[in-house]
Symmetry: C2
Subunit: 186 residues, 2 copies
DNA sequence: TTTATCTATGTCACTCTTGACATATTAACC
DNA sequence: GGTTAATATGTCAAGAGTGACATAGATAAA
């Protein structure tokens, strides 16, 4: 099975969801580390159902169209559990901003500094958002990681990676921008 | 043009290279932040030549097959320069290990701890490699970033992002593993 | 002499992913 | 009554990327 299938199962292992619900989780917050569009999700759900990893029931709603709510099966949960402790398949890292940094010597230092300051602000903004979520989790999930339920700790751990990433990325952007500004005057 | 084209131009802006040379740069060190296989590189070179961004000449070698050495054109250099200060196109981040962390509550804490310790070691190893390169650069390129040539500073900046990334990633892996071990005993 | 390896260049089928197209229900607003 | 937006589910064409296939010159080792 491909990683997308496990991403879907990882959400369904916590809660029954429709394709539309999954689409929104794949935007935020799961999308912060694994994203997919609805054009991938609906065919993937059909495959997972073919393979016996999920089932669905149609739910009628008032004020909204009917929906198909998917649930993970015992086989699905077993497959997901087995996958969790397998080493991840190595993906080629691709970061366009680092590539731009590698070529920034061709550009005007001032124009490049603007870019890295802008990007730094974007990462700082994302960091603030993550920090607010972290504070909410710590308040509502027992104060410290050791006291959290295991599933809450798993969510908290994923968030902590996001915090580290954005903090470090923002700092690097500021450092690059500062280095560029030195080349402006002296 | 797609990012792959600019990755190729970014290498050719520093040095004339054959498709085979580019392939090796795309493994290491450029591959640390933008990678491509030779099956992508050769067609891309043909496209770049069609568009007038590169030219090539055939070079005969002793003891090796002939090669086509590519050089960036003035148009290619201009296109690359303009691209450098444009904001990067947002790519969907995908990190399978964070997805595994998000689902680790389904697994045995001990088995999951083994995974995160393993992955932590891999990131520490990459970090050591980067740190050795950093030391080499500082020794050979003037001691500190401000004293470096602009193109050397650009390479150094790209490396510094890698160092921050691996350091922070390794630390997160150790932190997750420690949290999992607590759930083993108490 | 055969085999393996490195250099060197290319093509092709397949998978993954995206963006556009397509349709339908219901609510809210003008 | 018409428009817009949110909910809800799907398909399809195209692009990006990988792995396998293919060929070939030259060296070195067995």
């Amino acid at each position: 099975m491909r990683t997308l299938g496990y991403a879907v199962l990882s959400l369904l292992s916590r809660e029954d969801l429709s394709g539309y619900d999954l689409k929104r989780w794949m935007e935020r917050p799961l999308g912060y580390f694994w994203s997919a569009k609805h054009s991938q999700i609906y065919p993937e759900l059909a495959r997972l159902e073919d393979e016996g990893f999920v089932t669905h029931r149609v739910v009628e709603q008032q004020g909204k169209p009917d929906k198909k709510v998917f649930a993970i099966t015992a086989e699905g949960r077993e497959a997901l559990k087995a996958w969790v402790t397998e080493p991840p398949v190595g993906r080629a890292p691709r970061d366009e901003l680092i590539l731009k940094a590698y070529s920034m010597w061709l550009a005007e230092p001032g124009a490049a500094a603007v870019l890295f300051e802008e990007q730094g602000r974007l990462h700082e903004e994302q960091l603030r958002h993550y920090k607010a979520t972290e504070a909410w989790m710590e308040e509502n999930w027992g104060g410290s990681p050791e006291k959290m339920d295991f599933d809450d700790f798993a969510s908290y751990a994923a968030l902590r990676r996001g915090i580290g990433y954005e903090r470090d990325y923002a700092e690097w952007c500021r450092w690059v921008a500062a280095g560029l500004k030195e080349r402006l005057s002296g």
